[in-house]
């Protein structure tokens, strides 16, 4: 149980296409997408609310962190072929990345546009 109602967090840095850095302490268990949405970080839309249905929470993950992320499922893989900005080897859907303590320090880049 968290003490004094304070949730454990990991620091995630979102970097916009224009280069603006938004460091956010995201509660463990939330997704990287939720960390952005709940804190008003632009660049992630998440139209379907995290159901792998819309491809509007697309991010480019800094290479060093790729290996620490959970493996990609079929539906995420298929959705990434349809994102507005081009898919790259480091593309992920941020709704499919649950924040863990191990991801403290994660850096993701948001694409120029999502819709």
């Amino acid at each position: 149980m968290p003490l004094f109602g304070k949730k454990e967090t990991a620091n995630i840095t979102y970097i916009s296409h224009a280069g603006v850095k938004s460091p956010i302490a995201v509660p463990v268990g939330d997704s990287v997408m939720e960390g952005a949405i709940k804190n008003g970080v632009d660049g992630i839309v998440a139209e379907c609310g995290g159901n792998t249905q819309c491809g509007t929470c697309h991010v480019y993950v800094e290479e060093a962190w790729l290996g620490k992320l959970p493996a990609m499922q079929d539906d995420e893989n298929a959705m990434l072929d349809t994102t507005l900005c081009p898919r790259r080897p480091n593309s992920r859907l941020s709704c499919q990345i649950p924040v863990t303590k191990e991801l403290n320090g994660l850096v993701v880049h948001t694409p120029e546009a999502q819709v």
């Binding site: 939330d30 939720e34 949405i37 709940k38 804190n39 008003g40 139209e47 379907c48 609310g49 159901n51 792998t52 249905q53 079929d74 539906d75 893989n77 298929a78 959705m79 072929d81 349809t82």
Partner: protein
Amino acid sequence: MGVVIVGAGQAGFQVAWSLRTEGFSESITLIGDEPYLPYQRPPLSKGFLLGKQELESATLRPEKFYQDQRIDLILGERVASIDRASRRVVLASGAGIPYDSLVLATGARVRKLPDPSALYLRDLDDAARLKDRLDRASRVLVIGGGFIGLEVASAARATGKDVTVVELQPRLMARCVAPVISDFFRDLHRRHGVEILFGAGAPPPPADLVVTGIGVTPNLELAQEAGLPVSDGIGIDDHLRTADPRIYAIGDCAVHGQRGRLESVQNAVDQARCAAANIAGKNQPYTAVPWFWTDQFDAKLQMAGLSGAADQTVIRGTAPRFSVFYFRSGRLIAVDSLNRPADHMAARKLLAAGSTLTPEQAADESFALKV
């Protein structure tokens, strides 16, 4: 003046947000009759019932978002009437709010049975009540073998309950999918230990919790009393306008002459975007391809297009991973994909582009599904 939006569900929320992303700078007032910040419904019958997701995670945006975007939220208030002559909505509390453009996103409410003990699943309070009762129940009876009923059945069974589903039609989700998919889900549920009874014949076993999912009926009263034409929904044209050009209707409550009325997140979001563009002066017709999804046990069904008018179907792949392609007069009109997300995404593109895919090509897995 600006825009007033009646209904703070997925559609209402989206139109407010899209207006700001369109650069609309006048006032936006979003009115909802529930006391909660706008939230999304899909998790209510999926992750939340399974205990995988908190209710608060269904909230679409924190309160600060609305302040930052200058969206005035009026929550826990009902709109009593629309005064079209003076262009204002009147709240139940008596306050009047003027508008230049009005968006009706009033949604739908569940159809009910006479049984007062039955529970339903539509809004946040329903979900909280159902979860609480479900945690204490051991034998669950679900009335209705549509999407909601089957998602509830799947969650209840996954959390260890004895579950029976009663469906009046001879097959599941009969309104929306081909028999081959209905049969797959019947077998899936039975394999997981859910009892499924069809027709009105067999009496259902006793249960300590009855959940009813027999469809919804759109909220039309406000529009009707304002003198706007309604049928199975609030009538809209290609640009999502009602008979009054200052009033739009979107989402579950709106019906278009050819496209009909749809109950889905996609329809709510895409119509909201289109209405926002039109309010911002873009004159955009609504043309989006409908899509839906449902999660039951480990199966994900994704539907693109509307299959109701099909005169031919072909299957690509084999269970438990296959897609049904629906054709009418040789033209592709819909695709239902079972555990084949790539087919679903390809289908959305093909349908949007007006595909010339033939039934033979669709059935041939060596033929790439590309626009």
